[in-house]
């Protein structure tokens, strides 16, 4: 595939074993990337099936049990197998040490272990799917999850194991950022991608253990009936929700912070402009990470928790909008007087700004106490979280993949097809999910297999039908991306070392980099975004 004369981390050493036992963060990153994309394809398959079923009212081709399993699997796969590991484990693994000018992460063995733990967790989850899957929704709410007939134990155990993989990665990154920076690289010379990944890692380490213990108790509840969550035995189901969201709300910032991190880098590099308000962007990541721990109750405004807790949670929820808003305004201002190239990665970065703003602002509707009463558990929520997760994180991930693709594989993809696919994704995504806001605020509940026989069935059908149609366009977009990216590995143009004119360390080494990242000891000479002082030729 690659010029065999040249020795880089991809071509040397060779053999399957050299991959399976590699300690090289770049190879581990690629191994993660492959599995994560497969998980995404699986989750996407379930999504498209759901959409086809909802195309019209009445039962189409899935019965209720299958539908319930499919949305659970869609949610669980997308969240636990895809989006949480996605950016940190794949791109973070590849880029973080390179950006720091280090040879590797602090604990390469732990890094490899985290990949194997991920494989193990995925295997257990697959086993659960093969044995009949679960129909509890990705939230595993008790007491239904202690009663339903599905494979709840193996599924939650799979998620429990996946948690360790996430903790290992986070722990490794924190130590790496603290201890492995190149000479001269102060905290304020870190690329913003590193800041974002660092903030993410903090959440991974602090929040995941709590999910771990909660799932463990849920497993015990089902296996031996310990009675902590089961109301029939004096337990409290609302307590389960508290513990679940104590992890799962911070988890949504595990998902979005790396996306924001990518976008900060992409905006600066592709507009060739010093980033506006570097420190504020960096601090706001940390602020979001910390505030994110204090708002979990906004998922439970009408669950029966006290109105006082609801009030406090709602109040803190809004404060997350401030640092997030600062980031968005800073990105937009960065464009001012830049030298903007509208290539594929930049298209995704700009799309992120627009789509994430929609997702975030609709979060404000949900955070407002009184408004959530009507909107809770309707398609409004579904639309909100797809705008932030798909329109935010996935779009940023796509931008990142296109941005670092030449560095990772040493090949360029077809720019033309890249832009065509972008149009499909952007249009398809908005067609799928924008009308779900109206669908939801008109009253359509989520997790509904069928919506026939209501006074509003006709209205719902119009929105649902349009949405399903959009999902197909979205699917075509992803198919195009898959094809041209794979094709680029075989016949793509050779990439130069620095195709976008970036100033961070990863662009100073060869594409693809050598095994030990640099053929020299890198020393920091200028800031990551000094586009006002340094030309890309001079890094």
């Amino acid at each position: 595939m690659y010029g065999s004369s040249e020795k880089n981390y991809l071509t040397y050493p060779t053999g399957v074993k050299s991959w399976l036992f590699t300690l090289d963060h770049k190879r581990i990153g690629i191994m993660y990337l492959v599995l994560i994309l497969l998980a995404f394809a699986a989750g996407g398959f379930f999504a498209l099936t759901l959409r086809l079923e909802l195309f019209r009212s009445g039962e189409q081709f899935l019965d209720q049990d299958t539908y319930n399993k499919f949305f659970t699997l869609h949610g669980a796969i997308m969240v636990f197998l895809f989006i949480i590991p996605s950016i940190p484990a794949a791109l973070g693994n590849f880029c973080l040490p390179l950006m720091l000018g280090a040879k590797d992460v602090a604990f390469p063995r732990l890094n490899l272990a985290s990949w194997y733990v991920y494989v193990l967790g995925a295997a257990i989850t697959l086993y659960s799917v093969a044995m009949g899957a679960v129909d509890t929704g990705w939230t595993f709410y008790s007491p239904y999850s202690t009663q339903s007939g599905g494979e709840v134990i193996s599924m939650t155990f799979g998620v429990f194991v996946l948690g360790f993989s996430s903790i290992f990665t986070g722990l490794n990154f924190i130590v790496t950022v603290h201890k492995m920076r190149a000479p001269g690289m102060t905290w304020y010379n870190l690329p913003l991608f590193v800041w974002g990944t660092y903030a993410t890692a903090v959440i991974q380490v602090l929040a995941t253990p709590v999910l771990g213990i909660t799932l463990l108790l849920l497993i015990l509840e089902r296996a031996v009936g310990i009675g902590i969550f089961d109301p029939a035995m004096g337990g409290d189901p609302v307590l389960f929700q508290h513990f679940f969201w104590f992890y799962s709300h911070p988890a949504v910032y595990i998902m979005i912070l790396p996306g924001m991190a990518i976008v900060s880098d992409l905006i600066a590099v592709h507009s060739h402009k010093k980033i506006f308000g570097y420190k504020l962007i960096a601090y706001s990541s940390v602020a979001i990470a910390l505030l994110g721990f204090l708002v979990w109750g906004h998922h439970m405004f009408i669950s029966g928790q006290s109105e006082f807790s609801s009030m406090v949670f709602s109040f803190i929820t809004f404060f997350i909008g401030i640092p997030t808003g600062i980031k968005i305004f800073n990105w937009v201002t960065t464009l001012y007087k830049g030298q903007i190239s509208l290539n594929t990665p930049m298209l995704y970065a700009l799309a992120f700004i627009i789509l994430f703003t929609i997702g975030g602002l609709t979060g404000v509707f949900l955070g407002a106490l009184g408004l959530d009463v009507h909107l809770h558990d309707t398609y409004f929520v579904v639309a909100h979280f797809h705008y932030v997760m798909m329109g935010g994180t996935v779009i940023a991930f796509l931008g990142g993949i296109h941005h670092w693709w030449p560095k990772i594989f040493g090949r360029m993809y077809s720019e033309l097809w890249g832009r065509i696919a972008f149009v499909f994704i952007f249009v398809g995504f908005n067609m799928t999910f924008f009308n779900q806001f109206m669908l939801g605020s008109q009253g359509m509940p989520r997790r509904y297999h069928d919506y026939s026989g209501f006074y509003k069935t006709d209205l719902f059908e119009r929105y649902h039908g349009f949405s399903s149609f959009g999902a197909l366009i979205l699917g075509v977009g992803f198919a195009i991306i898959t094809i041209y990216l794979i094709a680029s590995l075989f016949n793509g143009k050779k990439a130069s070392d620095n195709p976008w004119g970036g100033l961070t360390f990863e662009w100073a080494t060869t594409s693809p980099p050598p095994t030990e990242n640099f053929s020299y000891e890198p020393v920091l000479k200028h800031g990551p975004y000094d586009f006002d002082k340094v030309l890309p030729e001079d890094i």
Partner: protein, 227 residues
């Protein structure tokens, strides 16, 4: 795999202990490596605290809801055995600290001795716990739906024992884990792997063991002494 390592040009000329066999290729110095491992282990301990923290929250919540039941149920725990176990663990914390100290002074033989005592304490702890558990099994003081003892007064006393077994069980698993790790460290010390220049695993084993001890020091009064 080190095809490029030979090309590394040392441009800032700092002292490298490149010679030490325990130095991994991607670190500059033993000191950087030691600091990294230490930070890593501390972070790991944080995750452990949070893991147990979840259980402590459950404890606090259910105790707040059923204060009387907790007090009644706690009477069925054996304070004497619990107290002995507390002493055993505190003592083992001391010995494991002494093990680190001896290796810093380049006395591997002493280190091995202290480590073995520590592991012995851990084993004693588990044996005592075994007697406590089998007594509870016998009396039907079991978690959740296996709970059959009708003498305990209060609403839902099975929840107290669910929490008791979850907490002490998870702690027990950590004790076992600690024994395995310290056992491995003992073997390596016997083989002469550590000296005052490099003793990171001994120190980290000790840190972990202190945490296991500390958690018990919270568990003991919360479970045994609330009456």
């Amino acid at each position: 795999m080190d095809n490029t390592a030979t090309e590394v040009i040392d441009i800032h000329g700092e002292e490298h202990h490149r010679g030490h066999p325990a130095l991994a290729h991607h670190f500059h110095s033993m000191e950087q490596q030691h600091e990294s491992v230490k930070l890593g282990v501390w972070l790991f301990l944080v995750t452990e605290v949070l893991l147990f923290g979840g259980l402590f929250c459950f404890y606090a919540i259910y105790r707040a809801w059923n204060p009387e039941m907790f007090i009644n149920a706690n009477e069925y725990l054996d304070v004497k055995l619990g107290a002995i176990n507390t002493l055993v663990l505190i003592f083992s914390s001391l010995t494991v600290a002494l093990a680190t100290r001896s290796i810093q002074l380049d006395k591997p033989k002493q280190t091995v001795g202290f480590l073995i005592v520590t592991i012995g304490c851990a084993a004693t702890f588990l044996v005592i716990k075994y007697f406590e558990y089998s007594h509870k099994f016998h009396d039907g003081l079991l978690p959740g739906k296996f709970f059959t003892n009708l003498a305990v007064e209060g609403t839902n006393p099975h929840i107290f024992f669910s929490i008791y077994f979850a907490m002490t069980g998870l702690h027990g698993l950590h004790v076992v884990g600690g024994m395995v790790f310290l056992g491995w460290v003992t073997l390596r010390t016997m083989k002469g792997a550590y000296s005052s220049e490099y003793y990171t695993p001994v120190e980290m084993g000790g840190l972990y063991w202190h945490l296991v001890d500390l958690i018990w020091i919270y568990l003991f009064p919360l479970l045994y002494l609330i009456g």
